[in-house]
C-alpha cells in the first residue's frame, strides 16, 4: 500500500537508470542521509562517536571494499587486516613527513598506496583460485604485519613501534588527536563513506562491475566473451584495497589515534571484515553496511543491555554476548544464506504486495 511503484513511469533513460528507481526508496534514503548529516552531528558526544559511530562507519567502509573483491569479483581475501595496516602506516608516514598535507589528501593517498600493494598481492589470483587464493592473501596478512613490526622506518624508529597520529585540522576544526571534537570526526568519516559508497555503487553498475561479476560467475566464459582476467582481477584487488586502505587510515588517524600493528590489524580483523561481508550479503552495497552494523553495534548493544539494563556481571555478560553472537550468526546464515541484504530485499518485495499478497 505504502510501498508501491504503480503509477511511477520512467520517461527518460536517466530515470530508468537511477540508483533507486522507486520513489519511496529515494525518499527513505534521502531522509536517512539528511538525518545522518544534519541531525546526528548535533547530538553526538564522545561516547557515541568513539565507541559506536566511528567504528561503524570505518568498518562499513572496509566491508564495502572487501565486498567488491569477494562479493562482486569472487576472489576470496584474508588479507584485510594487513591492507588496513598499509593504509594506517601510509597515513602515518604522510602525516609526519608532510605536516601541511590536507587530511582528505592523506586519506586518499593512503588508499592509493594500499591499492598498489593490494594489486601486487592480487597477482597470484591470476593463477590460483578459491582456497589457494585465500592462503596466498593470508600470507599477505602475516607478511605485512611482520613488516610493519620489523622495519623501523615505518614507525619513524620510535622506541616501542607504536604509531601516534599528530593533531591535524580540517577547515579550522581539530580532526585528529585527543582534543578533536566528536562531530568533526563523525562528519569527516561520514562524508568519505557516503562519497565512496556512491562511487562503489556506480562502479558495480558499470562496465567494470559487470566484468567483475562475469569473472565471478564463470571465469572461462567471461574470458571467451572478451573480458580480460588480468585487468579485471587486478582492478578488483586495486579498488578493494583502495577502500580498505582508506578504512585503515581513518581507523588509525581519526578513530584510535595510536595503533600497534599486531594488535589492531591482526588476523582477527581480516576475519571480522570477512564475516561482515558474508553476514551482510555478498555482492551488495547495502549488505556491507548491514553486516558492519550487525557485528559492530550488536555487541555494544548486548553489553549495555545486559550490564546496565539487568545489572549482570560484566564478565558474565561478555560470555553471554560471545555465545549470543555465535548463535545469531548461525541463525541468520540458516534462515538466509545470502545475508541480511537478501532478507531486506525479501521484505521489500513482500511489502510491495502488502496488504493483498497473491
Amino acid at each position: 500500500m505504502l510501498y508501491r511503484e504503480a503509477g511511477q513511469y520512467k520517461t527518460s533513460y536517466q530515470s530508468d537508470q537511477a540508483i533507486f528507481p522507486i520513489a519511496q526508496d529515494r525518499w527513505v534514503v534521502w531522509t536517512f542521509v539528511a538525518v545522518a548529516f544534519l541531525v546526528v552531528p548535533f547530538f553526538v558526544n564522545d561516547y557515541w562517536t568513539n565507541a559506536v559511530l566511528l567504528p561503524l562507519l570505518i568498518y562499513g567502509l572496509a566491508a564495502l571494499g572487501l565486498n567488491i573483491l569477494v562479493g562482486y569479483c569472487g576472489q576470496i581475501s584474508l588479507g584485510t587486516g594487513g591492507f588496513m595496516a598499509v593504509g594506517a602506516y601510509a597515513s602515518y608516514k604522510l602525516m609526519t613527513s608532510f605536516p601541511e598535507m590536507n587530511m582528505i589528501l592523506v586519506v586518499l593517498l593512503s588508499g592509493g598506496i594500499t591499492a598498489a600493494v593490494g594489486s601486487l598481492f592480487g597477482l597470484p589470483s591470476l593463477r590460483i583460485k578459491g582456497f589457494y587464493l585465500a592462503v596466498a592473501t593470508l600470507a599477505a596478512q602475516f607478511f605485512l604485519v611482520w613488516l610493519f613490526n620489523k622495519v623501523g622506518w615505518f614507525y619513524n624508529y620510535s622506541m616501542t613501534g607504536q604509531i601516534t597520529a599528530p593533531d591535524r585540522e580540517m577547515f579550522g576544526f581539530l580532526l585528529t588527536g585527543p582534543s578533536a571534537l566528536p562531530w568533526v570526526k563523525y562528519l569527516f568519516c561520514l562524508t568519505i563513506l557516503t562519497v565512496f559508497a556512491l562511487i562503489a555503487k556506480n562502479l558495480v553498475r558499470g562496465r567494470l562491475g559487470r566484468n567483475w561479476m562475469a569473472i565471478r560467475d564463470m571465469d572461462i566464459a567471461a574470458e571467451l566473451i572478451g573480458v580480460r582476467p588480468l585487468l579485471t582481477k587486478l582492478s578488483a584487488f586495486a579498488v578493494s584495497s583502495f577502500y580498505i586502505g582508506m578504512a585503515g587510515s581513518l581507523l588509525f588517524s581519526v578513530y584510535l589515534g595510536a595503533v600497534e600493528v599486531g594488535e589492531v590489524f591482526g588476523i582477527n580483523v581480516s576475519f571480522l571484515v570477512l564475516f561482515m561481508v558474508i553476514i551482510g550479503g555478498l555482492g551488495s552495497i547495502v549488505g556491507s553496511f548491514m553486516g558492519a552494523a550487525f557485528l559492530v553495534l550488536l555487541p555494544i548493544f548486548l553489553k549495555n543491555f545486559m550490564v546496565d539494563g539487568f545489572g549482570m556481571m560484566p564478565v558474565t555478560a561478555k560470555h553471554v554476548e560471545i555465545l549470543l553472537m555465535g548463535l545469531l550468526i548461525i541463525f541468520f546464515l540458516i534462515v538466509e544464506p545470502h545475508g541480511l541484504a537478501r532478507l531486506w530485499q525479501i521484505t521489500k518485495e513482500k511489502l510491495r504486495m502488502w496488504p493483498f499478497p497473491y
Binding site: A51, P178, V264, G266, I300, P314, H319
Partner: protein
Amino acid sequence: MKLKHLTAGLAALAVAAPLAATTAQAYELTIPSLVYRTGPYAPGGIPFANGYADYFKLLEQRDGGINGATINFVECETAYNTQQGVECYENTKNQGESGALVYQPLSTGITYQLIPKASVDEIPLFTMGYGRTSAANGKVFPWIFNFPGTYWDAASGMVNYAAAIEGGEDKLSGKTIALVYHNSAYGKEPIRTLEELAKKHGFKLELLPVDHPGQEQKATWLQIRRMQPDWVLMWGWGVMNQVAVKEASSIRFPMDRFIGNWWAGSEHDVTPAGEGANGYLSATFHAPGADFPLHQEILEKVYDANMGAGERERVGEVLYNRGLVAAVWTVEAIRKAMEIKGSNEITGKDVREGLEALNVTEARLAELGLPNFTYPVEISCSVHSDPGTVLIQQWDAAAGTWHVVASGIEPDRSVIMPLIEEDSAAYAAENNITPRDCN
C-alpha cells in the same frame, strides 16, 4: 543593618551547607576497573581484577567507603582489546558525581591509546609498572603515573641481579644475555635500556622476538641452545610465558639463569612445566603469598561474607597481590587528594594532585596490613616513578610457591634517567607539549 546580618547569615549558611551535606548525604566516588576476564590473556587478568576489586569491597564492608564517601566500583570488560577498551573508557569516564577518578588501563595498547585522551579529559592514569616508560617524567606527562618502577628499572634490576650472582659488575663483560620478548610495544620496551647497559658493562645482547601469541617457540629456543647465553631475560605475557618456561626446561637451560619480568612470573606461568620450572626467576616489586594481615582481613570480611571476587584459594597469588597493591596505592592517592582538598568531594583532577603528593612509607604500609610487602613510594611533580627497586622471586615447584631470593636491587638510574629525558623530550616535541616547570 538587618539585611546585612541576613546576608552574612546566608553566606555562612552557604559555606556551611556543603559541609553539612557531606555528612548527611555521602559523596560517591566512581572507581572504574578495566578488566580482561575473557580473551587470550584472561589467566593473567582475572587474579589482578580480583585483587583490585576485593580491596574496594573490603573498604566498603569495613569503613563504608573512603573517608565517608561511598564507592561506586564499575568493572568493564575489555578482553585486552584496544577498541573495547576505548568503549569502556568512554562509557565510564563521566559516570556518577565524581566522574571516573583514576584509570588502570592494564593493556599496553589501551594505555597508549589513553595517554593523550586522559590528559585532555583530566583523569589521571595509573599504569603501575607498565605502559610508556618515559611517562615517569612528570614534566611532560603530568597525568600519567607509572610507579613503583618502569620496565627500564626492571631490565636494569635484572641485569644487576645477574651481575651480583656472577660476582660483580665487571664480571658481566664478555657474557651473553639473551632477551626473549613479545614482539609488540610491550616487549620492545626494555631493548633501549639493555642496549645501553650492554655498552656500559660490555656484555653481548641477543634479541629474540616471539610473535603473538607465542604458542610456537621451538625455533627461538633452538637458537638459544646454539648460542648458549649466560642469562636469558624474558618480556613475555599470556601463553608465551608458559611455553617459554616449558621450552627452556626441555633444552635443559639452567632455570636459575632465566629471569622473567614482572608480567612473566605468576603461578600459571610455571605450573604447566611442572618440576622443570623449579628455580625459574622473576622480577617483581611486591611479595608473593597471603601471609599478611591485610589478606587475613580480606578473607575474614570479604570472603567469609561470600563477597569475594574470585576463589578463596587464589587470594595471595602473585597477580592477585599485584591488583591488591594497585588498589592500595590508588586509595592512598584518593585519601591524599581528600586531604589536600580538605573535603571528600574530589574529582579526577584532585586525584592527580593526590598521586603527585603520594608518600606511602613502610610505617603506613604496616598500618594498612602490608608490612614488608613492597617498597615505600614517594612521588613528586617531576618524578612519577619511584623508587624502581626490584625484588627477585624464585619458583619452588615442589612447594608450589614463589619465594623472594633477592630484594632491594637498585636499578641503574644513571643510565635510565637520561633515556627517560630523551624519550619524553621526543614525545613532547612530536605532540607540541611544553614541559611544565616543577620548581
